[in-house]
């Protein structure tokens, strides 16, 4: 459970990236966060895993609050949240298996469990056969699958995806989206930021629109931001 209470964020003290955001994310749901580039999507997501903090307002994530969390509690928070990025952020110096197992090692998982959980996560995203490959040997789509496995292996309650298909070909994009839907039906909440409205299946998720740091009606975004072909 995540809650934004009147959250604003200024960059460099004068650039208002988020403007009085009030939001609630429930367990098990699928959320789209849409808005064009620069709208503040990444900023909003980063606040959930507390890479950045509100200039005003408060964010509650489970039993952590942005106002009171201590530096040494942040790893505990991040253990509960899976994150994937447009640029995958895999560790280049180790293979697929180690990249995923790593997420368990750093969070202090028992040695006996690591192998089992890692292989499970890899098969969930259908990448087990490449477990000995290195990131540079994989396509964008495959790398993103590994990143998903790494995020899921910690069994988070939510998976945050920041433009997950930005560097993936159409074929891979479809697979990634299917995996995300699949994960969601198994109970993990998904919060996906995108400026690509063709990815949105309205029947499945809730849509949150963001423009210039403000929550707006998503229909307005479809009309104004996406209709003119202003996709990046």
């Amino acid at each position: 459970m995540i809650e934004f209470r009147n959250v604003s964020k200024y960059y460099k003290n004068d650039w208002l990236a988020l403007n009085r955001i009030n939001l609630k994310f429930d367990k098990g749901q699928f959320y789209y966060l849409i808005g064009r580039s620069g709208a503040g999507k990444s900023t909003l997501l980063k606040m959930i895993y507390m890479e950045i903090f509100p200039s005003e307002g408060e964010i509650i994530v489970e039993n952590f609050s942005s106002k009171t969390i201590k530096q040494n509690e942040i790893p505990l928070l991040r253990k509960r949240i899976g994150v994937i990025f447009q640029d995958f952020k895999l560790l280049k110096d180790r293979n697929v298996y180690d990249n995923v197992a790593f997420a368990l090692q750093v969070t202090g998982e028992k040695y006996q469990n690591i192998r089992k959980k890692t292989l499970e996560a890899l098969s969930l995203v259908k990448i087990s056969h490449k477990r000995n490959s290195f990131p540079y040997q994989l396509s964008g789509g495959e790398q993103q699958k590994v990143a998903i496995a790494r995020a899921l292996v910690k069994e988070p309650f939510i998976l945050i995806a920041d433009e997950p298909t930005g560097n993936v070909d159409p074929e891979g994009t479809r697979e990634i989206m299917d995996i995300l839907f699949d994960i969601n039906t198994k109970g993990t909440a998904i919060l996906m930021a995108t400026h690509d409205y063709s990815l949105i299946k309205k029947s499945i998720g809730k849509i949150i629109g963001l423009r210039e740091g403000k929550i707006v009606n998503p229909e307005d975004i479809f009309k104004l931001d996406f209709s003119g072909g202003s996709k990046e």
Binding site: K12, K46, E51, Q71, R78, K89, D93, Q105, V106, T107
Partner: protein, 303 residues
């Protein structure tokens, strides 16, 4: 713990050239530090040798009795700073003088009687070999009955003392500069190796690795660099000193204790350098992300 060691191991063999440069730089800075230590040790040695030669001699009156001599020796021995005393009779003094003169001893035949006075040689303990203390001791001795005069080379001592003070000041200032410079250099060198893996640290941080997990491999690595660096430079220093001592025989290398201290110092330098730099790097990475990168804002807005 196993993972942390694995990480260290990986880090160590990943950037071979980087590691070699790091060890090289640490070696050089510890080498300079070592040169300084050896210089200081040898300087102290020279000073000690010079001060060793400081001897106080109390000349006695000609008509002194044996009883009085015993008495005097006792009294002198109780003075603070006096280590031992040794009585030199007129005859003994003549013998010593003859030995000093060697072939020219026939000069002495010019005298009909022995011109040398009896004396008491006084050994002063190291800590009291300052001009002030020597003066004080000699004045205490002078007032005893049967003493003619006390000699300790006052001028020479003053000169030596001034030299020692100046040299010491220079040495201490140099030492402070070198210690700080080596910490700074080692810190920055290790910082570079940490920064070169900034991306990795960032990823680990986002995944939820604890600080201990992120930092420990770098700290172990830095400590190993420090150890190797000081080990190498000790060897180089040793060879260098061996080489020099063939030309200047009195030079001394460090003893075993100092050698140990030296390795310890280098390792500590690596340890402190890496703790400081990795903590600082993580802090920096987080701070940059937390707020404001003006460049990025400008770039995005103009694009």
């Amino acid at each position: 713990m196993i993972y942390i060691l694995q990480e260290t191991f990986k880090g160590f063999f990943k950037n071979k050239s980087m590691n070699l440069i790091t060890i090289g730089i640490i070696t050089i800075s510890i080498f300079i530090f070592g040169l300084f230590i050896i210089g200081t040790v040898n300087l102290l040695n020279v000073i000690t040798n010079a001060e060793d030669r400081v001897k106080m001699v109390a000349y006695l009156k000609e008509d002194i009795t044996e009883e009085q001599i015993k008495n005097l020796e006792n009294k002198i021995s109780t003075i603070l700073g006096v280590q031992t005393t040794e009585y030199i009779s007129k005859e003994q003094a003549l013998e010593d003088f003859k030995k000093d003169l060697k072939e020219n001893s026939n000069l002495l035949s010019a005298f009909e009687t022995n011109p040398l006075p009896p004396s008491i040689k006084i050994n002063i303990s190291m800590a009291f070999k300052t001009p002030e203390n020597l003066k004080e001791i000699s004045e205490k001795i002078k007032i005893f009955d049967g003493i003619d005069d006390v000699d300790y080379g006052a001028e020479w001592i003053n000169e030596l003392d001034r030299m020692v003070k100046i040299l010491f000041l220079i040495d201490v200032i140099l030492g402070i500069i070198i210690v700080f410079a080596s910490i700074f250099i080692v810190f920055n060198t290790i910082r570079l190796t940490v920064l070169s893996r900034k991306e990795q640290i960032d990823i680990m941080d986002i995944i939820g690795a604890t600080e201990t997990y992120i930092e420990t491999p770098y700290i172990i690595e830095g400590t190993i660099y420090g150890f190797f660096g000081s080990f190498l430079s000790t060897i180089i220093l040793y060879i260098l000193v061996e080489f020099i001592s063939k030309k200047i025989p009195n030079i001394i290398f460090m003893n075993k204790n100092a050698l140990f201290f030296f390795l310890f110092f280098g390792t500590l330098l690596g340890l402190i350098g890496s703790i400081l730099s990795v903590k600082q790097c993580i802090f920096e990475i987080r701070e940059i992300k937390k707020d404001d990168n003006l460049k990025r804002t400008l770039k995005k807005r103009s694009a």
